[in-house]
């Protein structure tokens, strides 16, 4: 399984970015290879609107099986994400990527 996290940083200790569209980074964990990688998403800062759809496009290209985020995607992003076969878990606010992953594994994150 490939798990994507919206994150303020790029490591296991980084905090989850509660925003979907305007997340600083997308951190990816590949459960098979145990590899943790990160994709910079800071370019959306320059967009007044459309950050949600831009990030959804990026997520689509990364093809994760699971997305873990905080507040949850906004209306436009949610419309786009419906077209992606992926489970979405929210409310990981204030957790590190590691804690969010642990909570997801133990079934303690809310699925939307």
């Amino acid at each position: 399984m490939k798990i994507a996290f919206t994150s303020e940083g790029t490591s296991w200790d980084s905090l989850i970015d509660p925003r979907f569209g305007r997340t600083e980074n997308i951190v990816l964990f590949d459960e098979e290879s145990k590899e943790l990688t990160a994709v910079d998403n800071s370019a959306v800062k320059n967009d007044a609107h459309g950050a949600g759809t831009a990030t959804a496009q990026k997520i689509f290209e990364l093809k994760p099986d699971v997305l873990i985020t905080g507040n949850g995607p906004g209306e436009n992003a949610a419309k786009a994400l419906k077209h992606i076969k992926m489970r979405i878990f929210v409310d990981a606010n204030d957790l590190t990527v590691q804690q969010a992953y642990n909570n997801y594994k133990s079934g303690n994150l809310r699925e939307v």
């Binding site: 959804a56 496009q57 689509f60 436009n76 786009a80």
Partner: protein
């Protein structure tokens, strides 16, 4: 006041809630005591000037903007459209092109650059324009539809309607949105004179200075009206003096004025000093624009 050159006055502010609508509605009603006047509420996200007038609806129309519509049967999934959309209003998720009408700025890039014509532009309703008449006062307002994010096209089309229909009226007042965003620039860019309404508080001053910068960038002649004069401090007055900005009037802070406003009533008839202020403000605008100063 019968002059061949029509006068367009925009009433704006940096800070919200300083009295744009109070000034717009009272000034328009004051002018309408003698002359034909048009008041246009361009704060299309939350128009409220209409609360002060009980007019006859003379015209109503839906306002549209053009958006692309995906024609799946023609599309070759070449990937050009999501790349050329600066607003992320068109994205490609594998075999699907998704269009987000609320994000679209109607720039036509995706539609024009599609090699197989798979994104024809179609009209989408974005708001409603209404035109009312109250004796010599014409009141035009537009409401942006819920969920719409692009207010600029609606503001632009509302101004075009007014220019077309009321070119013979000598004074038009535009009640602008608050802030200094694209909406404010769109609402004020055709004005001959801009009145910035502020209040004598630190917030009022902070946002006034942003609005002043905006008007200077737009090269607009402008002046300041200090509303709720008597509260806060003197910093707005000092700022205007230092920056060589004319203060057209100071409207006193009075509980009764707030009471009248909150019950949807105009206030100038109850306050002779406010009536004088309106007269001064109008004279200043006319003189500044029609060259009396030179």
């Amino acid at each position: 006041m019968t002059n061949p050159k029509p006068l367009k006055i925009a009433i704006a502010s940096g800070k919200g809630g300083t009295g744009k609508t109070t000034l717009s509605t009272n000034l328009a009603a004051f002018i309408a005591e003698q002359d034909e006047v048009v008041l246009v509420d361009l704060d299309v996200e939350e128009p409220n000037s209409g609360l002060f007038f009980n007019g006859i609806l003379t015209h109503e129309e839906d306002i549209f903007k053009m958006i692309p519509q995906w024609d799946e049967s023609k599309c070759t999934l070449c990937g050009i459209c999501p790349k050329v959309c600066n607003y992320h209003a068109v994205i490609q998720l594998g075999p699907t092109i998704l269009v987000f009408p609320e994000l679209c700025h109607s720039c036509y890039a995706c539609s024009e650059l599609c090699p197989v014509d798979a994104l024809p532009m179609i009209p989408k309703k974005t708001g409603t324009l209404r035109d009312f008449q109250i004796e010599k006062l014409h009141f035009v307002e537009s409401h942006l539809d819920i969920g719409e994010e692009q207010a600029v096209p609606l503001i632009s089309k509302t101004k075009k309607y007014v220019a077309r229909k009321y070119s013979h009226v000598s004074i038009t007042i535009f009640d602008s949105p608050p802030g200094t965003s694209c909406l404010v620039m769109e609402a004020t860019k055709d004005a001959d004179f801009v009145i910035l309404v502020t209040e004598p508080t630190p917030f009022g001053l902070h946002d006034l200075s942003l609005a002043v910068e905006t008007m200077r960038a737009l090269k607009k002649p402008f002046g300041v009206v200090v509303n709720r004069y008597g509260i806060g401090n003197d910093e707005v007055i000092h700022y205007c003096r230092e920056e060589n900005i004319s203060i057209l009037s100071k409207i006193p802070n009075k509980r009764k004025i707030a009471e009248l406003y909150s019950s949807g009533k105009l206030m100038y008839r109850d306050f002779p000093e406010v009536k004088h202020s309106l007269s001064d403000i109008l004279d200043y605008c006319i003189t500044a624009v029609r060259g009396g100063i030179a």
